[in-house]
Symmetry: D2
């Protein structure tokens, strides 16, 4: 309950610092009999991995995950699954320059005041490096959801600074280093990023995620609504500042007659709700967006103070992403998968198996 | 774990349907020795109460809360506090018209498919009526936070449909029926709402909440960040579709050099972060916004289906708010209070008492 | 998490003091569609009720339970069930004699030091009066378990002071005021109790509980074994001092060749294990025993101190059970039902429905 | 929530099978600033280690624990602590003889029916090998409790088969391979164990644990009483069949006048309660006992069935403890430490720091 676990029935508990020996997770609640190998996890880890393009940090990590338990003869046993990634790129550099500094926009200041004692190397536990474990655990959830219900979860960068995607081509997403769904703007994006990198600055981004194939009924009333739990899991990603479901903040100016999704015998006429009604999945595609702030580690000098309260001017050196939103794409997918998986098990506990073969009312054609 | 409880150490568990006998809650984890009477809870309940103005539902409920346990000789004993509000306005009307219908935009469709068997009277458990209990429980948290740390939590409607607040006068908020902070626009607002009501339609709203006086250190790393838990508790309010912290979705186009809040010996120079760094409170004012969708119960006829999948045209009759965002104001405050209280206890468990007398770096003056 | 809740998926949260306004509970996680009325709960409440015989406290309470939510048209809806019992016999007596005393064997001393401020009237929250709510909640679990799996849970007093039951006639249990299964000793028991009451003293008791019809598979590995969770729920009953499963402490002197229950194609040859292997139900009858200490409230004068540390001699006056173990019988059944119900849901979440029609290996005949 | 985690605030989550790659744990909730090295954990691990005497299994495991995170510059940081022990003695033996068998007294039968798919090598997850991680995690709790409150936790074998300890010399406990506190019976014990081993049989044992230095106030009302949580954590140890607090089952025949511990200005006159009143620690020594069944893996042939329901005669070969109760001693201490640590944090959350310097009423002298 010190924050390193998520989930009620499908639980993911993690450990590990940016520059520590290893990262690890215990994934509990996985149903028995699921075929699972390390390769199932490695795919998404590779998508998240640093150093995979010139637009992400130059830190080199193979991020090779090992399954230490819970799988026997290629199938899950229903017992807890231990995962481990050993850190390789632990440069024995000198951290004395940041040991006593509070980098603006980082967790240095708050960790210092909360705990007194902190691992300052690369941000320690507050580094986004821990998200590798979320991606590994999310891959297990993804596989189960796909196999049992046919759920498919896909995310992309829908906006990067001023560049907005105007079309969503999911195939395109995996073919460019920005996870961007609009091929027509890739050139502009590339140019923007080059200029940004040259200026030593960073920028924010918006990530869009869509899950299809959901059964009706996932989510609990009142506090643990599916959208509330998604908001929790998505806002819990490093650098996230906002989460929206369906039409999100656009609902503020919508009329009721405009927003409500009418129903017809062959399905819903629209999906302003984003796939959730009363906190419970409606069978329509689940749609959400997350805003990621710009990386705080930039070359542009900034004012700060040290642990003694003295003013210092600081410039971040080293390897950093100019836009953390890019690498957040597989993390967003993972968090959605973890949340859906948890709610699938919760639903099953109280209401029995979801009926996946029953045709559910989805988005109306045409 | 069927969704009717929130919190880890300060927990609120609720029950009750819109047209049932009573609403109730059990509030657990309240420290002993807090002076508490029913009057402490009634104030916020009255602010939330239906029928308090012509812009909210005409349903009449006194919402008189009773404290059934956990308080002795005017002070909390540290044991669980039972709260009860008896429903008064249970009209013995005929519900046969909606018993078999799925009202668009409501939880009828999803509850029907999740549970099979549902209380359709007024939305049953999915009605916003249950939020009365959140407000009552939140008032306990508010009082404790104010007393122990000097925390003050205030919310207002920052936008209602097209009408945007351009100034924040907190005194004004409690003086108009819209909880609107900008007196200069009250006339425009009144006019807009009259027209809306005449048209039988509804509209969305944005609620802004600010908490001041927070100590540094509330929030846990990784999954249970303060902002993630706030996102959970705020997105869990009926009709909420988006939650943002600090600059929210605006961060998407911000540069790192622009977003990061620089530190000076006398405080932070800005508060783009909204009071949270690395998921932990920084001592600056906590700032969040929530988008509420327009009420789905409107007079404008709409298409839907019944439980047998047959098409029906429907018009909602009865007593409904044209803008649910208005009455959400005290609920938003309550959810923030509940979340902060929980994190105060969590922090204390692991790190000891928060240091409230230590001057913390807050927003820099001038 | 301040101790007033039990369960993971089937959860029971309670409130209420001995001499407060009311006792209440919220029962969450009940599957939808279960036929349920107040009469289903009242039966066990009547068995537990004070004043039902001359061997239990003379306090008069109707213990009439009201279902306030979660049931619609006679069936559960899957949402939280609110339960309430109003206290009737709140004598406006003078408590000044015990307000500042620590009654030996009671929780006065520990509550005083833990909370500083406590409701001393009749023990407040520490009184066994709160168990009424456990019994009410347990009755819901009992009904579900019986209906879905055919589980039957029965408890009795197997020993009261020196009087040991030598035969188990379950029909007999409900026909005498001691819940004693051995008719041949009722006369001796009656005599023993008369003498005890005359002496103003009290005595301990042992309660035995058996659950039949359990499916194989309930319980989780490592920490949340079925027997571990039963130990938790049974040791959590007021006055409980020991819990055993199967042969219990007798295993200390058993040989492995003697203890292990051999398996044959037609079933287990014995049940030393008490129905649990590796923490998971084996399909054999679940067998447990609980030791209850003698009531601490007795007429025999005893030494104690007051809140100022001064010595006092004290005699408990008023209405008290000479043997709390007797009224513990329905409570033990309730706690077993609550624990089994929780594990049934937990099992279903991860492993799917239990196979109740599959013939499971049970105790071998003959 | 699939059983591999214990604790509410101080949580221990574990993974690992008997013959898997490694065992691991994540320990969360440890306060920051505690000096901690691997050596602090290794001591108790060595006490539990197999192969440490001729009376325990001949399996050789160094059980060398690695701390992978959560400790920086020799002190805990308040973030999650990852622990790892690599299995060394994974004999590549042929398991085909037990893959399809249900060994009597083992979890084979129940795991098979619960999960369908199981790791049968050495019992997989159901093997007591997982307790190594409990011991490692417990050592962290032990160190914190000792440092902050001066709590000392000691266990011993109080009875082994027919041999009962008649005196408790704690120094003696660490000087013989039986953790036996009574030197006068060591010879008899040695003789008994030799005969037992020769016969290829096993025997049960009783372990006694005492914790001194506890503050008043640990434990929560109603369900999470300190004794209830101890019962849960102790009954959750492999092979445990009964748990008692204080006088345990002896209370059944005690009178109230005999059992209640009287209070005097200088302390309690006795400790029949075992250090817990109303579920909350009284400051007296905490006393509990646990019964462990005899090892089911013995050389004596026994009847069983295989997964197809066919009868088989079986003899366990290989390396096994003739009395698992012996090696349970450090595990019992660990589980008590984990439970006390959790309750210390829970108490601090709601009621503030325990007052360790205030003289608490303990056992009266003389």
């Amino acid at each position: 309950m010190a924050g390193n676990r998520i989930g009620t029935l499908f639980t993911v508990t993690t450990f590990g610092e940016s520059h520590g020996i290893a990262l690890g997770a215990i994934v509990d609640g996985v149903p028995p009999g699921l075929a699972l190998t390390e390769a199932d996890l490695q795919g998404d880890l590779d998508r998240r991995r640093p150093g995979s393009s010139r637009y992400t940090t130059a830190r080199r990590e193979a991020d090779q995950v090992k399954i230490l338990s819970g799988v026997f003869e290629g199938k899950t046993t229903g017992t807890s699954i231990g995962l481990l990634i050993e850190n390789q790129d632990q440069r024995s550099k000198d951290y004395s320059d940041i040991a006593e500094l509070f980098r603006p926009g980082h967790a240095d200041y708050t960790y210092h005041h909360k705990y007194g004692h902190r691992d300052y190397r690369g941000g320690g536990r507050s580094s986004a490096r821990e998200t590798a474990m979320r991606v590994a655990a999310g891959a297990i959830a993804k596989k189960y959801l796909a196999q049992v219900c046919g759920v498919e979860i896909r995310a992309c960068v829908s906006q990067l600074g001023p560049v907005v995607a105007s079309q969503y081509d999911w195939k395109q997403v995996e073919q460019n280093p920005f996870f961007f769904p609009d091929a027509s703007q890739l050139e502009a994006l590339d140019e923007y990023m080059r200029a940004l990198k040259k200026a030593g600055d960073s920028v924010g981004a918006k990530v869009r995620v869509v899950a299809t194939g959901l059964p009706v009924g996932l989510g609990e009333p009142v506090f643990d609504r599916l959208d509330a739990d998604l908001a929790h899991s998505l806002m819990g990603i490093n650098a996230a500042k906002a989460v929206s479901i369906g039409d999100g903040f656009d609902v503020v100016t919508q009329k009721g007659s405009e927003h409500r999704d009418e129903l017809y015998p062959d399905g819903f006429a629209s999906n302003h709700a984003g796939g959730v009604l009363g906190g419970i999945s409606s069978g329509q595609p689940l749609q959400a967006e997350v805003a990621f702030k710009p990386t705080s580690s930039i070359m542009v000098p900034g004012q700060s103070i040290n642990v003694r309260g003295e003013p210092v001017e600081m410039v971040t050196r080293g390897r950093h992403d100019p836009c953390v939103g890019i690498r957040a794409v597989p993390i967003v997918e993972a968090m959605v998968a973890i949340t859906l998986m948890d709610h699938l098990l919760r639903h099953r506990a109280q209401c029995g198996d979801v009926q996946v073969d029953t045709p559910t009312l989805s988005m109306r054609e045409g």
